[in-house]
Symmetry: C2
Subunit: 186 residues, 2 copies
Amino acid sequence: MARYQAGIKTRERILDAVRTLLGEVGLDSVTVKGICDQAEIKSGSFYNLFDSKEQAVLTVVREAITGIDPDPLHEGKDTIGELVSAYIAFVEDTPEIAKTYVQIVAASSVNDETIRHRVLAHHRARVDRFAEALARAQNSVSGTEIHARAEMLVAALNGLAFMWLLEDDFDFGGHATRLLGDIVPA
Amino acid sequence: MARYQAGIKTRERILDAVRTLLGEVGLDSVTVKGICDQAEIKSGSFYNLFDSKEQAVLTVVREAITGIDPDPLHEGKDTIGELVSAYIAFVEDTPEIAKTYVQIVAASSVNDETIRHRVLAHHRARVDRFAEALARAQNSVSGTEIHARAEMLVAALNGLAFMWLLEDDFDFGGHATRLLGDIVPA
DNA sequence: TCTGATTTTGAGTATACATGCAAAATTGGC
DNA sequence: GCCAATTTTGCATGTATACTCAAAATCAGA
């Protein structure tokens, strides 16, 4: 345990503030002043704990990219239903982070090669996991066919997340579950 | 015909510059200086033709929102294949505007109520058109079922557009066509 | 070529932002 | 309660940005 606790707590307050603001005002509208107001600190404290605004935002952004695929070590064990449930849980339980994820893909990916590659790598790994789970569920279909279906399923889930961004009361979980039923008949 | 042409041409150069920059650097990174450099004019000229940066950007944004559904008066006549083809053409023929559309949905929708409602209204109208076309193709299925399928189809198309943002060589047209084949067997 | 209308220029202003820093306040072991 | 380490404060600084404006340049009809 560190000798002084205050700084650690302030760091958490800052990250909480960034999470909130990313969901509220969007990736490019987050300011240091906004973060400090939300965290109820002064800017000097912010720079005592982070080298730059970028660093604090990137910390949360990494969280968002990783959050969509929380446990990549389970490979070969998940069912397709569990994978879809994990996506639904991600969107419904941590909506600010999910919103951030969508914004990262749409906005940052355009002008930030580093983030784009990171997102792309995670996306491909996710499609592979979906494909493997699909293969286990329907082992009669060919590999390329399975992979195309997985890509489509993930695309549709992302599209539904997209819609959920637009409509506050959009039933993301319901639509995602329905979609799963269409792809993998019970 | 107006007496002086120079101003009109400059206006077009500015809008072209905004279109280019929206695709290249993203919605929130477009600056007046950037627009002026790209259009090879000075900032004074910009403000001679537009009241604000916002106005110029919004002009192109409206174009993007409308562009995804170019001919809403054809209702009752389009086939589902034509609607999907129109989406593919939108993405492949005007990629900068398509990119802008995705960014608007993801970023602006978070903090701009006006744009969000505009996008949402267009989206709903589009889903309705897809549903009507689907109903004509498969009139055995119930109305709510058809509507759910239309929503899913549009979501999947948006999701694919999403992916195409990440990967330069993503075969959007191929995947979209495949998706259509899955939903409406030939 | 002259003239008034239109367009362009480019320096200038105000503001918001990220970041720096020295001093004050707080913390916690002794 | 003392003191050194840590943390917070809040003002200062430099920079980028949106936007203004008066003067210069250009245009097109007579």
